[in-house]
Each structure stands twice: as C-alpha cells, then as structure tokens.
C-alpha cells in the first residue's frame, strides 16, 4: 500500500545535468519494487503549485541511519523541478508512494537489454539488480543528447555484461540514437526482453526494434500527471488490451510500464476512433 510521508531531505547532489535527491521515506522501501514511482509535493501546504510531480524511484535503502530512504533523479526544467533541485539537507519534503505497477520480470533467466534515455534510466538500476538476482544476463544501453545528460554510466557498467553509450552529438560513446546500437546488442546478447525508460519517441523507437526482432519489450512511459494515484484521469494513453480492444488507460495505475507492442504509439495524444467509448471519428 502506498503511504503519504512527511519526510526530510537527507542529501541532494548534482550529478551531470541532474540532481539526485535522497529523502526519508519510512516504510516505502519495504513495499518498493523496480519500476515504482513517488509523487512529490512542491512546497508546503500553502504552496501555489498544488500538483505533485512524479519521479521514478532510482534507489531505496530500508535500513540506513535515517530509516527508509528513497532516491529520485531530478532534471530541473520548470518551477516544480527547480524547487526540488534547490532543496537542501534537512528541508521538508512530502512524498506519496510507492506508486504504479512495477516492471514484470521474466520467469526464466533470459538475457535482457535495458535501455535508458537521459535521466529516464533512473528505474533501470534496481531492475538490473532484480534481473541479475534471477540469473538473467543484463546488457545496458544508455543514451542522451549530449555527455552531461547521460545518467548512471558507472553503475550500469558495474551491474551489466556490456554497456553501450550513445549521444546525439558524439560527445560520449557512439554518435547516434540508442536504437542505432540496439540491434547489435540484441544480437550479441541473444536478448529475449527489452526494458526501456526515457522520452516517448525513444520508447516508440525501442518498441519498434523489439517488434522487428520478435522479442518482448516493456516501456515505462512518461505522461504528465496531476495526482499519481489514479483519480485525476489526466495521464491516459491508448493501450491495446488482451481482448484486442484499445482503452485510454492511466499511466499511473495501469503503468507506468506497458508492453511496447500494446501502446498505440502513433496515437499517443489522440483518441483512436476504435477506442472503447470513443466518438466515431476519434479525437485528433
């Protein structure tokens, strides 16, 4: 069960373009599974920014000196994330979590490729540990527009069989996109599952590569949310159900990880006309 926790900031350090914020989180780490997220309040109960911001949980620690803690990765790009990036040790922070469905793990110890775009890589490291514990081979691909927007290279190297890095401008690793490197990594590792987290366009491209290779992909989506707990209905996207019917599902409670071949990528931001309950002509 998720909880509301009035916690404090234990640490907030700059890593490349990002901030890694550690906050007390009471019993959240005990409930945590890789792929879960937290919804963080911006300011106190008088703040004029009333919507929580959702962050993948990057790390958890259930028995530190501060009790349970969670780490999140912040990319400052607006008033809410700027506020969080400026928080200092001992500042108050209010978290709700753990939220969302975790990643599904394969039953058998099959090879897995983990693809992270920028700070979207955050939830993949605990996932890699869980997969490794099951005997899965893990290969990492980390990509970003430029070197300082890469996240988690050292950790990825430590926990994976191979790490491939791509940047759009060639400042680190191969010049290009993660999907330029993906087919080769799939081939070499004989991958059965691909996990991906990052920008929507990257997820779409990864899902397409997975489909072409006939392998399973799980994509953790990023849709803007107002609540994170399933009551506001703002974070929906068209998902094909097991019955073949497309429904507008909430990424906060039905995701954030969806099977890549079940997301109507070309229709995200629209209502396909064959969606359950859609007007005949759909909504563009």
């Amino acid at each position: 069960m998720p909880i509301v926790h009035k916690g404090t900031v234990v640490d907030n350090k700059k890593v490349g373009s990002y901030f890694v914020l550690t906050a007390t989180a009471a019993d959240m780490p005990k409930e945590f599974k890789p792929g879960n997220f937290v919804a963080v309040a911006i300011g106190d109960e008088r703040s004029s920014l009333i919507l929580r911001r959702a962050f993948s949980i990057y790390q958890v620690n259930d028995r530190g000196v501060y009790g349970g803690t969670v780490d999140i990765v912040i990319s400052p790009h607006g008033p809410g994330t700027d506020y969080l990036a400026n928080l200092k040790r001992n500042d108050a922070i209010n978290l709700v979590g753990p939220l969302g469905k975790p990643f599904s793990l394969p039953k058998d110890p099959v090879p897995c490729v983990l693809v992270g775009g920028g700070y979207g890589a955050a939830p993949l490291f605990t996932l890699a540990e869980a997969l490794t514990a099951r005997g899965c081979r893990v290969d990492f691909i980390l990509g970003a527009s430029t070197q300082e927007k890469l996240f988690g290279m050292l950790e990825a190297r430590r926990i994976s069989t191979t790490l491939t890095v791509t940047t759009d401008d060639g400042t680190s690793g191969q010049m290009g996109r993660v999907t330029d490197a993906l087919p080769e990594v799939i081939k070499k590792s004989n991958a059965a599952v691909i996990y991906a987290c990052g920008p929507m366009k990257m997820l779409e491209a990864v899902a397409n590569v997975a489909n072409m290779h006939g392998i399973v992909s799980q994509t953790s989506v990023e849709e803007s949310m107002a609540c994170g707990i399933g009551v506001c209905m703002t974070c929906v996207l068209p998902i094909i159900g097991d019955d073949g019917i497309t429904r507008m599902l909430r990424s906060c409670v039905d995701g954030p990880a969806f099977k890549g071949d079940k997301v109507r990528w070309d229709q995200v931001g629209k209502i396909p006309s064959d969606t359950w309950g859609a007007p005949d002509e759909g909504v563009n």
Binding site: M1, R52, I229, V236, I271, W276, V283
Partner: protein, 317 residues
C-alpha cells in the same frame, strides 16, 4: 494505516436534504474517481460521502491529452468525462463502494435531457446510493455549444427529467456553474424543478496558452479551472444562494484546502463541503479537513458544526 477522523467532542454530524451524515466533508465529483484509489490512504466509509466521478449512459473515452495544465494555486482540466458507462459503473464501482460500507452520491451527466433521465433510472433501487448529484454544469460537455447550467430553462428541464426517473425520496443535488450572470436565478429554477439541494460550484471555464507554441495547452482548448484560486468565487456563490434560498441544502466546494477554508463555506451557508482538487495534492485531505474543522470549532468553544452554518448571514441567525 488508513487515516480516519480523530475522535472529537464536537458534533460534526450534519443534516443535508433528507440525509444525516456523520462528517460534513465529502469528496468532489471528478477528483476521487469512485473512491477505491483513495481508500488506500483514508477509510472511505468514514467520510461524509463519496461523490463519484460523473457517469454517463455509455462508456466514454474522454478527450485526447494534454488534459491538464497547472495554474497559479489551481489547475485547468479537460478530461471530457472519461468513464465506463452506467451499467459497468453499477456492476463494479458501486458494488465495491457498497461492500466497503461507503455512502455514495452518484454524479450523473448526459449529452441531452433524455440521457440524464435514463442514467438516473438505472440507479433506481440500487442499494448504497444515498443521493444523486446532477452534473448540469460541466463546461466540457459539448451540447451544440450549450451548457445546461447556464440556461435556467435547460437546467430545469434536466432536473425535471431526472426527478421523474427516481423515487420521490431520493435526494437530488444540482451542481451549478459559476459562469452565469446571476447564479441565484439558476438555483431558483432547478429547485422549482425538483432539486432537493445544490452543489456549489463547478469549475470556471478557463484557458492556458503555451507561450512556446502559442497554442492552447489543453487538447480541448478550454478547460475547467479549479483549486484554491477559485475559492473566493465559490464562497460568494454559496453566500448569494443562501441569501436567496434560506432553507435549501447546499454542498459547498471550490478550492477547499484546509479546515479554515471549509469554515468559510459553512459560514457562507454550506451544510456540507466537498474537497476536490486538493485531493491530488493530499490523498488524505477529506479526513484532514474534517479534523481541522473539528479543532477550529473546539478552539472557539463550540459544541457542534451546526452553530457556524450561515454565521455570515446576520439576518439568518
């Protein structure tokens, strides 16, 4: 541990239309789905009532994204009434609420007058439904460009039709839009048509423009503004309606974030309050606001909530 209201010596129970509720704090339609998600944080059976997200006759996909934009002390939303349709709602959502022992006020919406009646009819004899809130004021419903709540005749037509399709003892609340010249005119019209009470207010129609693209931020272009930013408008509407209709039961809502905010509504004339957008910020808000109101009353040396209702109207007390 799910949060439940603290024990208090203050009598927090209220009478609302034909109902007696143990807490004056309800959820607001569209901000609590059908209660299940919030029940992870609060015991949903301990709040005044769950006012469910507006349900329509048929399943509905809602609008495309983006559906939301944050605004100063508030938000703009244009969900487009996404929902499962009344049959599925009764089978799954209402069944769950009943099993939890929740008191449920079902919010209903329709594309036309007849549809409202059909949805209401489906709720006949369904256990656990203690009231119906008629969403005549959702600014997102496209009805040839018309919004029922902005026209006293159209609003009365809907209430009339719903009234004819439910039992005489079922409390009906009409949810009013503040986007009118004189809200008391609409209030009088729906009460005459058979509403037992009023939910005051729905969101205000607004727009946010993205300054990078220079286009409206929401896919539906306009949306409903909610949150603390609209609270003074809501308090004013409750006050005006209470003055015009001294005995009509009112559920007050619009930007309630704290017990102190709720007290403003009670003093203006609300018999109960709904907490809406604040739930997105604090999933425990309905119980917290209840506790804070009780504490304020206790600090004032009062024994019951009833003592502050209408307090802003010196002529009524």
């Amino acid at each position: 541990m799910k949060r439940v209201p603290k024990r208090t010596s203050v009598d927090m129970s209220i009478e609302l239309a034909k109902l007696r509720l143990e807490s004056p704090v309800l959820t607001a339609s569209g901000c609590a789905a059908a209660g299940k998600e919030l029940d992870q944080f609060i015991d949903i059976s301990t709040i005044g009532a769950v006012v469910t997200k507006s349900v329509m006759l048929e399943p509905r996909s809602g609008r495309a994204t983006p559906r939301m934009a944050e605004t100063p002390s508030g938000m703009l939303n244009g969900i487009g009434l996404q929902g499962p349709g009344i049959d599925d709602f009764i089978e799954k959502d209402l069944a769950w609420l009943n099993q939890k022992g929740a008191k449920t006020i079902v919010s209903i919406a329709g594309n036309n007058v007849e549809e409202f009646g059909k949805v209401a009819d489906k709720l006949r004899d369904i256990p656990g439904v203690i009231g119906i809130e008629v969403n005549i004021s959702c600014p997102n419903v496209e009805n040839r460009g018309q919004v029922f709540a902005c026209d006293p005749y159209a609003a009365a037509d809907v209430i009339n039709n719903v009234r004819r399709n439910v039992s005489a003892s079922m409390p009906l609340f009409a949810k009013l839009s503040p986007d009118v010249t004189d809200i008391t005119e609409i209030a009088k019209s729906v009460v005459k048509a058979g509403a037992d009470g009023l939910s005051v207010i729905n969101t205000l129609l607004g727009m946010v423009i993205d300054t990078d693209t220079l286009l409206p931020r929401l896919s539906g272009k306009t949306g409903g503004l909610s949150g603390p930013a609209i609270r003074p408008v809501a308090v004013r509407c409750v006050y005006q309606i209470r003055k015009a209709l001294p005995n009509i039961p009112i559920i007050g809502m619009g930007g309630i974030r704290s017990g102190r905010d709720a007290v403003e509504f009670f003093a203006a004339g609300a018999n109960a309050v709904s907490v809406g957008t604040t739930v997105f910020n604090d999933p425990e808000a309905c119980v917290r606001v209840h506790d804070e109101v009780a504490q304020i009353l206790q600090d004032k040396g009062l024994r019951s909530l009833a003592e502050i209702i209408n307090a802003a109207h010196e002529e009524l007390i």
